[in-house]
């Protein structure tokens, strides 16, 4: 089964594929701006309170953050392999690689859940009765942490759903131009890139 047929307003398939991809890239640029506001807030907080920022970040579990970075990087590799497999007309391998990428995404979310549970117990989750912050900066940092990782986790969830639906989509797996799988992979790589910058902003910042 080939890719989606040529449709209006396009006159040829290569142009249609290029437009599909460009549309995704432009959407991803808007995603960068969404997370950009959060990173700008972290920058302002760190410039205003350099020492307190490091103290607050020290509460996060560096080991779990590092493990999750490795999980997402490996997951991205599988997404790239899925695209390569679809192009090489190996639809079964494309499906397997997508499932592996989605599985690592689930592991990422599980680790995040363990982290959130730990932070709840330690009184670091804003808005809960247990919340107990030693300083205003610490509270602001934890607010920022939950907003940033929460919105990111929503994107991870969306990416997992997209990759699972692509893996179940026979037309997508048999498309030698990998239009759908390629676009899903692009989205997943951007979710990875955002985490690559959240890692030094939240976790590495806490190493005194």
């Amino acid at each position: 089964m080939p890719e989606r047929a040529l449709h209006e307003p396009f006159h040829d398939l290569p142009r249609q594929r290029e437009a599909d991809r460009l549309g995704m890239i432009v959407f991803l640029a808007s995603e960068i701006m969404l997370f950009g506001g959060i990173f700008a807030a972290a920058l302002a907080l760190r410039l205003e309170h350099p020492t307190d920022y490091v103290h607050a970040a020290h509460h996060l579990k560096l080991s779990l953050g590092t493990a999750n970075t490795a999980a997402l990087l490996t997951s991205s590799m599988f997404a790239a392999l899925a695209v390569a497999a679809a192009r090489a007309e190996a639809p079964n391998w494309a499906g397997r690689a997508l499932w592996a990428a989605a599985g690592l995404g689930l592991i990422f979310l599980a680790v995040k859940g363990v982290e959130y549970a730990g932070e709840y117990r330690e009184g670091l989750m804003p808005g809960t009765p247990e919340a107990d912050f030693s300083s205003r900066v610490e509270q602001l940092f934890m607010n920022l942490y939950f907003v940033a990782t929460g919105i990111h986790a929503l994107h991870v969830t969306g990416g997992i759903v997209l990759m699972a639906s692509a893996a179940l989509n026979r037309r997508a797996r048999y498309d030698a131009h990998a239009v759908l799988i390629g676009n899903v992979a692009l989205y997943w790589h951007l979710v990875d890139i955002i985490w690559l910058f959240l890692y030094p902003t939240l976790y590495l910042a806490g190493v005194a």
Partner: protein, 91 residues
């Protein structure tokens, strides 16, 4: 194993090495340079993902331009934000 697959695996190995490097660098006594080193390594990792995994190496100018547009606007946001906070002590 095709060349494409080998390239993807090599990029993954490079990404994992950069992750180990940034983790080790966080424990070195680098002083004020520490965040700069961490963000430089994060940028290197992001560049590898963009160039190889997101296949900007295969794309033409318009696609690359669209891909970096978000980062360019972000740089403006960061520079102007920092310009405010960094210079407040001069007042």
């Amino acid at each position: 194993m095709s060349r494409g697959v080998a390239r993807i695996l090599a990029v993954w190995a490079a990404l994992m090495m950069l992750l180990a490097l940034t983790l080790a660098a966080a424990f070195l006594p680098l002083g004020a340079a520490k965040p700069w080193v961490a963000y430089a390594i994060a940028t290197a990792k992001a560049a590898l993902v963009l160039w190889f995994f997101m296949e900007l190496r295969r794309e033409d100018g318009i696609m690359r331009l669209a891909a970096v547009a978000g980062f360019v606007w972000l740089a403006i946001l960061f520079v102007l934000t920092a310009a405010d906070y960094v210079t407040r002590v001069w007042m």
